[in-house]
């Protein structure tokens, strides 16, 4: 199976060998079983520094040749990157003719592929990085691709996925009615409330990023963050800390929820006593769909208000679009003060346009 020639030199990358030019290695024939193909192989052991632990080869030469990876750290020998990432990168570069076989899944096929290394010369993108000229060529290709990506960053399309029927039917009015969606950041009279309600939490926004923001204002007692339901409650130990945090959050509307942007994702924050956010995942998904609809509405309102502050002329142009959320408002029963303000705005703008 493995010929004697292979036993002389291990295929190991430079990082594993270290900076020392004089290296002493230990060799043991059939010392371990290869972690990939489970066949016995010649193990090499060495230490790069005096105090460092010994490094050793963990896969056989055949497997490392097939994947063009280091026998010790399993990184690609040419690029020094994980082989899974290398294959992903090659896919991105649009390399269609990866001649290599796919990574074997079960034990028998692993053995078979290792035994027939004549037939399966390369697995994944090994044949490309194994050839220095080809590797260079691919890299320049990748350079062009990444440049193009930088010039027009892929905008996240906000896909509104329709809920399946059985989830859409779930009645969550009880949960929704208790959520402080219409609340504001004005401190409530009930002094026992120390929690803020956050909604609009996207799946791609990690929890620690949100709690990092709030931790600068005081100690947090608990953070119930439900990505499924797109909302969560953050509870402070002290009421004063919560008030301080609430003050720091920018408010597009004095009587509406605050707007906090964390990691490029807009979050809405209000005061609110901690309530149930749905027990099953179906309930949570339904809550999420209602919450995200509501957020769209208020963001439209906010944008209209911002433009009002900035420029009246712009508002004239936007007047017809504002009337749309107004219709929906009646259904959702928004804050009455908000709706009157919007009406005023529309009146002003339309009045002006009449004059013109």
């Amino acid at each position: 199976m493995s010929n004697m020639e292979d036993n002389e030199i291990p295929a190991v990358c430079e990082t594993c060998l270290g900076s020392n030019t004089h290296l002493r290695m230990m060799r043991e024939r059939d010392g371990l079983e290869c972690k990939l193909c489970t066949r016995p192989f010649t193990v090499f052991k060495w230490s790069t520094h005096k105090n460092d632990a010994y490094k050793k080869t963990i896969i056989c030469v055949t497997c490392s040749k097939q994947r063009n990876c280091c026998q010790s750290c399993l990184l690609d020998l040419t690029y020094g990157i994980p082989i899974q990432m290398r294959d992903a990168a090659l896919k991105m570069a649009g390399v269609d003719n990866i001649s290599g076989a796919n990574e074997p899944k079960n034990e028998i096929s692993k053995l078979y592929i290792a035994d027939n290394s004549e037939r399966f010369k390369s697995i994944g993108g090994a044949s490309i990085t194994g050839n220095s000229e080809k590797a260079k060529e691919i890299l320049t290709k990748l350079a062009l691709i990444s440049q193009n990506k930088n010039s027009n960053p892929s905008t996240k399309e906000s896909r509104d996925q329709l809920l399946p029927d059985h989830i859409d039917k779930i009645d969550v009015t009880k949960i929704i009615s208790k959520l402080p969606l219409k609340g504001s950041l004005n401190p409530p009279n009930d002094k026992s409330i120390t929690s803020l309600f956050i909604f609009g939490i996207d799946d791609s926004l990690p929890e620690y990023k949100i709690s990092d923001f709030f931790e600068q204002y005081g100690k947090i007692k608990s953070f119930n963050c439900q990505h499924r339901a797109k909302c969560g409650y953050i509870t402070f130990v002290k009421r004063e800390d919560a008030e301080l945090a609430a003050k720091k959050i920018p408010k597009p509307d004095d009587n509406g929820p605050g707007l906090l942007i964390v990691g490029g994702i807009p979050l809405r924050v209000t005061w609110g006593k901690e309530r149930e956010l749905g027990k099953s995942s179906g309930e949570k998904l339904k809550v999420a769909s209602i919450v995200s609809k509501y957020i769209k509405k208020i963001s439209k309102l906010d944008s209209s208000k911002m433009s009002k502050k900035r420029n009246l002329k712009q508002l004239e142009y936007m007047a017809p679009t504002i009337s749309e959320p107004k219709k929906k408002q009646s259904k959702m029963d928004l804050n009455p003060e908000v709706s009157t303000e919007v009406k005023k705005v529309i009146y002003k703008s339309t009045g002006k346009s009449l004059e013109l």
Partner: protein
Amino acid sequence: MSDDIANLMLRPARQQISLEELESDELPPQNGIVFNIWFQKWSGGGGSNNQISKAKHKVNIEKDTGFTNVTKDKNNPYICLYYAKGICVKGKNCQYLHRIPQDDDFWPQTVDCFGREKFSEYREDMSGIGSFNNVNKTLYIGGSLIIKSNFHDLINENFKKFGKIDKINVINNKNCCFVSYKNESNAQFAKEAMMGQSLYGEDIMVIKWANEDPNPIAKNLKKRQLEQDTNDMIKNLLSNFDGKSKQQKILPSEIDASEAEIEEPEEDDQSNDEPEEIEIKQIEQPSQKTLLNNTDLSYLKFLKRPEIKPRRSLINAYDSDSD
């Protein structure tokens, strides 16, 4: 390293339990026929002999963290496994780190943060050290859980001590829970630290690696993340190869002008490189001409055996396509 941990590391690590407490380790309750002294487990006899016993000790990050007897010039020292379990008797004389994994820590892909070797596949029940073939940052929490209304808060409180939490997903009707971390090493630490612990006193948590999330949203997210990572990595690689091509310009170079032109605008990206991927930079030494020669030379350095022709055998070893 975060400030809190850096402060804690100024004091000596305390001894978590005394030697007497450690030695009072008795046999686990008999649930098999043969006792295996290597794994401290009973086996045979049928029935369920994989009952997890409740952990007697638990790590207290605030109290137990501190400096240990790790030699300064050691590269990437590992974290003490016994510290994670709360049973390190060595205290400040320990040869391993007594702290949680940090963002700037780096360990090879083939071992976990305690220095234990990973395997190519997960075990059938997803327990154990895990696989080097994919990066898993999510833990499955099962066992005899009791899910009450404050379960989510308790999980958050207990698990955020071991690292930055990405997501917590409690599944009420399946009586289990998933916790994902920002870094894989934190998940490895939390797995060992919380194994066999309980939240309410009567329950026992069993922690395993999570399978891939079948949720289409999560899959999409993962795909995007992989693309992002690959993109970052390509940038990093390019900046390395850039340095190379500039060196080659001084030497009699074989690179045509067009390639140099393409690569030059990438200079801006060098500044954006994340420090996480330092290991890649170390590999490329810009003094040599091409990569194959680079590795060739290094072998010549340590081989010193004239009867073997290293060049010939290397071509065999690396590149079966050429010639």
